[in-house]
């Protein structure tokens, strides 16, 4: 854990920074964003990939005549699930148990890590293989396992890249999106065996990863995964992937531990028909991702793990559930479409959010998971343009939830002493006084007109003095007009009463 806030790009990307959700407040978004924006290579990489994926997604979606109906169904099924979450979790637990799986419950990250560490230790192994999972990132699971002497090998290519680089993820779907092929080649040559002649062709880089991980797949006793969906009706767990590393982990080791946020349950088998259409087109912009694995309980002998553990995780999710408006953030199926269309994310990249969940969805999910006092800057990391809402396959109204959370941030500040004494609050208080009295308001305008003369550039005021400076830190303001509406009105009614005006009418 870092002791000071990151000041360089390398520090910002580093795994030494524990991303939210944690119990400590994160570096404010504007500060972190400034560091990212200064990295020209990053901005070039991000601009290129987000443009590419946006065009691809638009094409994949345009092909579907019933896309809007699917989105609506995707939203409604999740709404039904969340409003009756206890009902469906009991059903899921029963179905998984019936099928020979073991269900564990974890109220927070520490408890989940303890459960998983205990399971791994009971199998006397020093190595586990992992399928990419945001939920385990949220737990800091790899770090927790290292403390008990167990090494977790990330097997997704992008996860492997950032693990080797000692960096954090910057995107939900493609965690190493901030790195280009030349950077990856240099990293592999430094960290992987037999890579002296490695080129920067993506094909060659993928082959190097295949060779590196093959032995791990074949020897690992325990695999750890997340879960895209858990079907309450049948107890089936579903994992959606591309590379086949998921299939390797789900098929070869003797023990499988899957960690699933409680909101990932869906009611019926049939509901998968909606999400298996929405997810691939929204995330990788494909008609279907290469591999989707679905299994129910412990596998039959010889066909996969004979021991299956499902760890159901709260870790703040019930806090999100308690806000009947903000709750919709739990509908998220982690497709990352909102990241790719976001004008803010496109420029800053994922690290600036300091959160396991970056981008627009992170800006509404993270502050709710950890409380606005720990992530108060994230609801402001948006221009409220609404592109994320249009792209969301389950119709999460991200802009509205952002505004709702901004309200909560202000409320929280109002309740604390430091918040009440903050420059912004004092300035608002002063303005409040000014606006309640017409006399004061007029005097203030006249004063402003005198004071602003030297401050106007290109017709705008770019910085206000003193406590008002907070307002202009991120925006310009119009100067007070040479004649205000009230002054004009007064002049007009005075001249109306004059004789020559009367004569005209």
């Amino acid at each position: 854990m870092s002791r000071h806030a990151p000041t360089t790009r390398a520090e910002l990307m580093s795994r030494d920074v524990a991303p939210l959700p944690t119990n400590a407040p994160a570096q404010p978004f504007p500060e972190a964003a400034r560091i990212s924006l200064a990295d020209v290579q990053l901005r070039r990489n991000m601009g290129k990939v987000t443009t590419t994926i946006r065009a691809k997604r638009a094409k994949a979606v345009a092909e579907m005549p019933d896309w809007e109906a699917l989105r609506e169904a995707g939203r409604a099924i999740k709404d039904r699930t969340l409003r009756h979450l206890d009902h469906y979790l009991i059903q899921l637990e029963q179905a998984v148990t019936r099928a020979g799986g073991k269900v564990h419950w974890a109220a927070d990250a520490a408890e989940a890590n303890r459960i998983i560490a205990g399971l791994v230790q009971s199998h006397q192994t020093k190595e586990v293989v992992k399928i990419k999972s945001l939920t385990t990132d949220e737990l800091g699971l790899n770090e927790a396992l290292r403390e008990i002497g167990v090494e977790a090998f990330e097997t997704d290519l992008a996860e492997l890249i950032i693990q080797l680089a000692g960096e954090r993820s910057s995107h939900i779907l493609v965690p190493a999106i901030h790195k280009n092929r030349a950077e990856i080649r240099a990293l592999f040559r430094r960290r992987l065996a037999d890579t002296e002649n490695l080129t920067d062709e993506p094909k060659a880089l993928a082959a190097a990863a295949r060779a590196h991980l093959r032995k791990k797949f074949l020897s690992a006793k325990v695999a750890i995964s997340g879960a895209n969906f858990g079907v309450a009706e049948t107890g089936s767990i579903c994992i959606v992937e591309s590379e086949g590393n998921g299939r390797m982990c789900l098929t070869l080791p003797r023990v499988l531990i899957s960690v699933m946020g409680i909101e990932k349950v869906i009611p019926s088998w049939r509901d998968l028909e909606v999400y298996l259409q929405l997810l691939p087109r929204s995330s990788t912009a494909e008609r279907m991702n290469p591999y989707t694995s679905i299994w129910t309980g412990a596998s039959a002998p010889g066909d996969g793990p004979e021991e299956f553990h499902l760890v159901l995780l709260d870790n703040g999710r019930t806090k999100v559930l308690a806000d009947s408006f903000g709750r919709q953030a739990l509908q998220c199926i982690r497709c990352s479409a909102c990241l790719n269309v976001c004008p803010v994310y496109e420029r800053t990249g994922g690290h600036a959010y300091n959160s396991v969940y970056p981008g627009p969805i992170g800006a509404i999910l993270t502050p709710q998971l950890v409380g606005v006092h720990n992530a108060g800057s994230l609801p402001y990391a948006s221009s409220l343009c609404g592109a994320c809402y249009d792209a969301c396959p389950v119709k999460i109204n991200i802009p509205q939830v952002l505004v709702h959370l901004r309200g909560k941030v202000v409320e929280h500040k109002r309740e604390s002493l430091s918040g009440r004494l903050a420059p912004e609050a004092l300035a608002m208080k002063t303005l409040g006084k000014v606006f309640t009295s017409p006399k004061r308001f007029e005097r203030f305008q006249k004063l402003g007109r005198l004071g602003q003369r030297l401050k106007i550039h290109n017709g705008m005021i770019e910085s206000l003095p003193g406590q008002l400076g907070g307002w202009t830190a991120v925006r310009d303001v119009y100067p007070v007009a040479p004649e205000t509406f009230r002054e004009w009105w007064l002049r007009r009614s005075e001249s109306k009463t004059s004789p020559n005006r009367e004569g005209q009418s």
Binding site: I53, G100, H104, P202, N245, T251
Partner: protein
């Protein structure tokens, strides 16, 4: 916290978080509008054409044949791909297995044997035209999951009447397998791939680097 108390704590928090939901509301009271398409209205020939086209768009190879000619096409495919040892499930339909190569028949093949095999030959459960997907569900002629994962080449046979139009039609067909631990389901859409490097699609990471699908015409 003991295992049981963690469970109770989570349920306690869920119930207090959902105070706004009326006690009388049942799960099915929350309406789900399923006005999306659940069946394709395309003709059979058009569906089969679309299935082939979309499987090929993933850079998988497709061959078409008749039931009588299937054994010859399987042998031809193995020869074209230089496959000298072929993994087959224990219940591979009679007559499918080529004779001029080493046949590795399940059950009981070791991981090493699977790793070193030139390819694997299986049937499948259902195909989806809309997405160019074949689905395996450990049903007849499909074997366990590892045999279509470790060999570098997967040769999959599908009969025309196994091809459906849309994803919902396939999900309906898979319902029975879904509730059984001995019937894991795998959707396969093209060969193993990644888009992790600059979003370029690269075929062949950890799964089979080549997928070939043989579409067998329904016997007229």
């Amino acid at each position: 916290m003991s295992a049981n108390s963690a469970r109770e704590a989570v349920f306690g928090k869920i119930r207090s978080a959902l105070k706004d939901v009326p006690k009388s509301e049942q799960p099915d009271d929350v309406a789900v509008d399923r006005s999306y398409l659940t069946a394709s209205d395309e003709s059979r020939p058009e569906l089969i054409r679309q299935f082939i086209e979309r499987v090929e768009e993933y850079r998988a190879k497709v061959r078409t044949t008749s039931p009588d000619d299937l054994p010859r096409v399987i042998a031809e495919s193995c020869a074209d791909n230089g496959i000298r040892s072929l993994v087959v499930p224990a219940d591979l339909p009679d007559g499918w297995a080529p004779t001029d190569l080493t046949l590795l028949r399940e059950p009981g093949l070791s991981i090493d044997q699977l790793e070193q095999a030139g390819g694997a030959l299986t049937a499948c459960a259902v195909g989806i035209a809309q997405t160019g997907t074949v689905v395996l569900d450990a049903g007849p002629g499909q074997g366990r999951r590892a045999i279509t994962l470790l060999p570098d080449h997967h040769l999959c046979v599908i009969f025309e009447d196994q091809i459906v139009g849309l994803v919902p039609e396939a999900i309906a067909r898979l319902h029975d397998a879904a509730s059984r631990p001995d019937r894991p389901i795998t959707f396969i859409s093209g060969p193993s791939a990644t888009s992790d490097i600059e979003l370029n699609r690269v075929e062949g990471v950890h799964g089979p680097r080549r997928l070939e699908v043989i579409v067998v015409a329904s016997s007229a």
